[in-house]
């Protein structure tokens, strides 16, 4: 016993790099295998400028290769959402504050810009003055909200800010008939009808008119904010934010004024939201109470969480998916591609080892053709349906059953598919692999006969929801987030 307690001299050779933990982490790195792993490793090593270019170059070329007006508009809205996501990323991703009133700051930006430059108010400020004022107002409101609530943490902060977000909607609905002392009857927001006739942006004499010009302006704004935020995150403030997200008490004891830093993150997020809001107001040429409600809040949260909280690159990908996928799904032909690509990718990524992959892919294809032959011979109505337009739909019609009056059958198939998916979660091992074959076939059947017809309506949201569920299951930390270790 005494022998054990006696300190022994350190061994002659220091044992560098034989630490169990270090070894296990290296192993985890190695586990980035396959094409996705290679991509990830490349991404991790690439210099920051190159990573930015990967996004900016396609975004800048996009308007030059497309001619469709609508696409610009989606691109523009995606950019504005991404910009909003950047701000929320500061509050939620860097500092870890659950801010549910975030959209109100977006609204303050839009309304302030509209108040300073619109036919409604009769003022026509140039954007280089109006936008800074809008940003300052949003930041000031952020300060006013954050000051009393900064000591609140977690759930309590969420409640306070959620209340603030709702109060904002009520406020703009009613702020068209306020009687100020000395000033008299004032119309600040246009009430339920909103502020209309907002001026287009006019920056240093450059009138931003067409959607294409707005697109480039917003792209420039986005890149600017992104670069500034990157520089900020690699500074003492950025590190302090991340530290206080990790462990507020340790951060406080280690010389960081936690409360002040939280407030700063809150105000930064609000300012960026205000900036995005003023652009949005000009793009929409109006600001309406309905635009700044909980729905948008959820969308922006989905963008940030899907991309990976704390990751700047993730915000872009998140915005592209959350905003782009529903638009792609609008057209049945494109929706067809999205559906089958997702299905194939999912199977390719999730199924290991390759034997299972081969069984599932081969089995599903064989099952389809088999059923096509059998049903076609026994029950002619079963294959009498019309394939959709487009090449892919044409190919699929040789494989999939397309009954002539499919609604009733497809409804049943849809219910059966959900049951099959639930069953899958209960099965293990090879049973699961085998059960996947009819499940995938059923999903394709329900898609071809029921969902593809309604892509412009319910389907796209259903599919987006399913996509989000799958993605968050596969990568809870978000696409670009790093898995966080809470207690090691």
């Amino acid at each position: 016993m005494a022998d054990e307690l006696t300190p022994q001299p350190p061994p002659d050779q220091p044992r560098i790099g034989v630490d169990e933990w270090v070894a296990s982490v290296e192993e985890k790195r190695e586990q980035y295998s396959g094409p996705i792993g290679r991509l990830r490793r490349w991404w991790d090593q690439a210099p920051v400028g190159a990573r930015l270019l990967v996004f900016v170059v396609p975004a800048a070329i996009f308007p030059l290769v497309t001619t469709e007006g609508n696409l610009f508009r989606y691109g523009l809205i995606t950019l504005i959402y991404a910009l909003l996501g950047l701000g929320l990323n500061v509050t939620v991703g860097f500092a870890g504050l659950l801010d549910l009133g975030y959209i109100a700051f977006f609204g303050f930006g839009a309304y302030t810009y509209g108040y300073l430059a619109s036919g409604h108010s009769g003022r026509h400020w140039a954007a280089e003055f109006a936008i800074p004022v809008a940003v300052a107002v949003a930041a000031a409101v952020g300060l006013a909200v954050g000051l009393p609530s900064r000591r609140l943490v977690g759930d309590y902060l969420a409640i306070v800010t959620l209340f603030f977000g709702q109060a904002f909607v009520v406020f703009v609905n009613n702020a068209n008939r306020i009687d100020f002392p000395f000033v008299g009857h004032t119309d600040l927001t246009g009430g339920a009808n909103g502020l209309d006739n907002i001026d287009p942006l006019k920056v240093f004499g450059w009138k931003v008119n067409t959607t294409k010009e707005y697109y480039f302006f917003t792209l420039g704004a986005f890149v600017l904010v992104m670069v500034l935020l990157y520089l900020l995150s690699e500074s003492r403030t950025g590190r302090a934010w991340r530290a206080l997200r990790e462990d507020p008490l340790a951060a406080e004891v280690m010389s960081m004024p936690v409360n002040r830093l939280k407030l700063l993150a809150f105000v930064f997020g609000a300012a960026i939201a205000g900036f995005a809001g003023s652009i949005y107001g000009a793009v929409q040429t109006g600001a309406f109470p309905g635009d700044f409600d909980v729905g948008l809040l959820i969308t922006i949260y989905a963008i940030v969480i899907l991309g990976g909280a704390g990751s700047l690159a993730g915000v872009i990908i998140g915005a592209l998916i959350v905003n782009g996928v529903p638009e792609l799904l609008r057209d049945p032909n494109e929706a067809e591609w999205v559906f089958y690509t997702t299905l194939v990718l999912l199977v390719l990524i999730k199924l290991r080892p390759w034997r299972r992959l081969a069984v599932v892919v081969g089995g599903t294809i064989a099952l389809g053709f088999l059923l096509h032959v059998v049903v076609g011979a026994a029950w002619s109505r079963g294959t009498a349906g019309e394939p959709g337009e487009g090449a892919l739909a044409h190919w699929v019609s040789h494989w999939m059953l397309l009954p002539s009056h499919p609604t009733q059958i497809a409804n049943w198939a849809y219910g059966l598919m959900i049951a099959a998916i639930l069953m899958l979660t209960l099965l293990k091992g090879w049973w699961r692999t085998i059960a996947m074959i009819p499940t995938i076939w059923l999903a394709a059947f329900a898609w071809e006969n029921l969902l593809v017809v309604q892509t412009a309506g319910a389907t796209r949201f259903l599919l987006l929801g399913a996509l989000l569920v799958v993605l968050m299951n596969a990568r809870p930390q978000g696409l670009f987030g790093t898995a966080r270790v809470e207690i090691a």
Partner: protein, 265 residues
């Protein structure tokens, strides 16, 4: 001894939680360049003592003087900026940040550039950033072969337990303190590592010039490092003096082993 300066002095410190008195009328002082150990059985109030000194809990009563100036009522980060840094008994690293970032982040208090200077990379921000990085590397290098360069960019959670303790000490050093408070630096370490910690604490004073107040259970460590030992029991100082004097003090033996055992001995 008469020439040495009082660096930290506690006078009549009281702290209780509800009816439970954790520190009672405690007087304690640490002179410049000294290594003082605080010992005592579990629940004696040792960690509470650290929490009160660093401002996490305000004392109910009493004075805490750092170089003659009161630090009572300051927020923890202000206490740290005055020159008191601590480690935690239950490690509290920023686990998902890299080793280097851990040591860089805590230099917040010692730097001044604003977010705007950082975003525009103005001269002061750039200068401070270089300085932060240099200092982080300097502090990490203090541990020599035990915390070598290739680990600096790994996340803190990937470190072994012993290395996490070293990183906590490096992090405390990076705030440029006058006095280091080490809360059980040898807890959970094997005999070899414990021996190293003993040497390290000596080295911290000789080469780093720190004054050190340390809580420790391992008596070999306490014996090896202490200029002076203070024994606490139920928040009361029951003995103070050299290691040999305190270790054989009947009241200390009683506090650790119980009354009857102490008498039969």
């Amino acid at each position: 001894m008469g020439e040495t300066k009082r660096l930290l002095e506690l006078r009549g410190l009281n702290k209780s939680f509800g009816g439970l008195a954790c520190l009672q009328d405690l007087d304690l002082h640490v002179d410049e360049g000294e290594i003082v150990s605080v010992i005592g059985p579990n629940g004696a109030g040792k960690t509470t003592l650290f929490n009160v000194i660093t401002g996490i809990y305000p004392p109910d009563d009493g004075e805490i003087l750092l170089e003659g100036k009161s630090i009572v009522g300051l927020e923890p980060h202000e206490v740290t900026n005055r020159g008191v840094a601590r480690t935690f008994q239950t490690l509290r690293l920023f686990l998902n940040m890299s080793v280097r970032e851990n040591v860089m982040a805590v230099q917040y208090g010692g730097t001044k550039s604003t977010p705007f200077e950082a975003m525009l990379r103005l001269p002061r921000a750039r200068r401070e950033e270089r300085e932060i990085r240099r200092r982080a590397e300097e502090k990490l290098s203090f541990f020599g072969q035990r915390l070598v360069g290739y680990r600096w960019d790994q996340p803190a959670y990937s470190l072994s337990y012993a290395n996490r303790r070293r990183l906590e000490i490096a992090r405390a050093m990076a705030t440029e303190p006058r006095i280091l408070l080490l809360d059980e630096p040898a807890a959970g370490m094997n005999p070899t590592e414990t021996h190293e910690i003993t040497e390290l604490i000596g080295k911290l004073r000789e080469e780093g010039g720190y004054t050190i107040l340390v809580i420790e259970h391992d008596m070999h460590v306490v014996e090896g490092i202490s200029d002076r030992v203070i024994a606490l029991d139920h928040g009361v100082k029951i003995a103070e003096g050299s290691f040999d004097a305190v270790a054989t003090d009947p009241r200390v033996v009683e506090a650790y082993l119980g009354l009857r055992k102490a008498q039969t001995k």
